[in-house]
Structure formats: C-alpha cells, structure tokens
Assembly symmetry: C2
Homo-oligomer: 160 residues x 2
C-alpha cells in the first residue's frame, strides 16, 4: 500500500481551518502562538481539540500546566496572527503587539480579539510532529461578536 502524497496533500488542504492565538502561562512567564488546527470535540462537556507543534516552546508549557486560552481573532487581524507565527527572541515578546487581561485561569485573553476560551487539558495524543490536546472549556469571555479570521482568507496554507 503506497500513499499518493499529492492526493493526500490536496485532500487534507480542503479541511477548513481557522487562525487563533493560543496563549499559555507558567509561573511568571506567558507565551503565545498562532494555532490553526482546531476543532470542537464535544458539546457536553464543551471540548476543543488543538494540535500543537511538538518542537515549539509553548508545547512544553501546555503539557506541564495543562491549560491554554484560545483567542478568536477578528477577520481583520491577519497581521497579529503573523506576529505570533514568527520566531521570537524570548518568551512573552510577542505580547508587545497587543494588550491582554488575565482570565480566571490566569491565561492572557487578548483585549482586541473577538474573545477567548480558557481550557483545561483532559488528555493528549503524542504521535506525530504535533501533539493533539483535548481540553475542556472552563471560561469564556466575548468582547465583540464579529466575523472571525480563517486560514483560507489569508492566502496562507498550513496543512496537507
């Protein structure tokens, strides 16, 4: 059995994906990264599923603290998503671009985003170059109900 790599790539790129800023905190440190591979995982309890690059600095923070905040960006916040994609000099440096307020779980919720959901990791699957985290939504802050950013509208691709 041989996988047709071109067909695989074309088909997987048809899966719609969003663009979120996932924030983490550990002790005095905060960090954040752009996440795209996100889906809902259950209504009751409300679960989200997010795949995170296993080699990133935030990955260990999610693994150790078992919590993260998924910030939903407005459709006009592509530039902010780009800031959180780029390599950074130190933890927290990306937050110079945007104001935030700590939520009840102690995670940064971006003031200028549509809102954020703070989540507690229930379980994870470590198998490939990303780790799949399954997490329960414990708090939700909505700032502004408007159209959200998605990957396809940016012209970027991440997947395949």
């Amino acid at each position: 059995m041989e996988l047709n790599l071109e067909a695989k790539k074309t088909l997987l790129r048809k899966i719609p994906h969003g663009l979120f800023i996932c924030t983490v905190s550990e002790g005095e440190e905060i960090n954040g990264f752009t996440a795209s591979w996100v889906t809902q995982g259950s209504f009751n309890p409300p679960l989200v599923v997010m795949a995170v690059r296993a080699d990133g600095s935030s990955h260990g923070m999610v693994n150790r603290t078992k919590k993260f905040c998924l910030n939903v960006l407005r459709s006009d916040q592509k530039e902010l998503a780009a800031v959180f994609f780029k390599p950074q000099k130190g933890l927290g440096g990306r937050f110079e671009s945007t104001a935030y307020t700590f939520g009840e779980l102690g995670l940064p919720i971006l003031d200028d985003a549509i809102g954020g959901v703070e989540c507690k990791v229930i379980n994870s699957v470590e198998h490939g170059d990303h780790t799949v985290f399954v997490a329960e939504v414990l708090t939700a802050v909505l700032h502004n109900d408007t159209e959200a950013l998605n990957l396809s509208s940016t012209g970027w691709s991440y997947g395949g």
Copy 2:
C-alpha cells in the same frame, strides 16, 4: 468559576468546520455518516482528528475496526451531506443515494466526491458526548480537485 454559556457558544461557533461523509465497514456491513468536527493533527505521519457522536451506530464500527474513510465533498453536495445526517432504517441504506468503490483498506470511497482518505485509528479520547479519534492517513484517492463543502456555507450550525 462559572462558564458563560452564551459567550462559549458564540466563540466555539467561530471555529470553521467542514462537512465530510465518513464511511466505515465491518465484515459485510458498510455505513456512513456526516462528520463536521475534523482537523489535521500532524504532517508526518499525516494525521487527521475527527470527533464522532458516541451514541451513533458508526461509532462502534470505528472503535472496533480502527479505520474509517473521510470523503471530501464538493461545494454543491449539500444534499448528499443531508442524506447522511438523517436517521436511517438500516446499515448501509444511505448508500442508495451515491455510488462508491472500495479503497485499499476496504472502505467505501464515494465516486462523486472530491476524493477520500482512508485512515487507521492510532488513538482516541473518550470523554464527552463525542469520541475524538486520531488517525493516520494511509491511502488517498483524488477524483476531482474542486472547491469543498463547508459548514458555514450551508446555513447549518453544528457546534457551540
């Protein structure tokens, strides 16, 4: 800590989702259902993540056989997605609406879809009203590279 249910619903509905027909087979039986909560989970190996209602008849088939095929629908196949949403009289009845060919893993690949990826389940997380399956893409058949159906364009909602 109290979850703001309206904020949670509004924010989770901002996660973009597709509409796929997931097919399963067990012995002589085949079945299929419409899946929406799908994301990629890794590039290498190529993983997909899909949440499946824990009370559906196909759920047990995925759990027992550890395999499924994700069929990517064309943007004009909303009616076919609706057929695979509805309750059915018996296993396999929904396939009267569409022709299919068995793939290398023995799973139905819909002839009229954009294509399908046959997947082997690596792991799963059973925590809420859906089970989260993490699966490796083993085969990919591309029929027709065209625009895919997504949930938001149908006017339906599934999530929140």
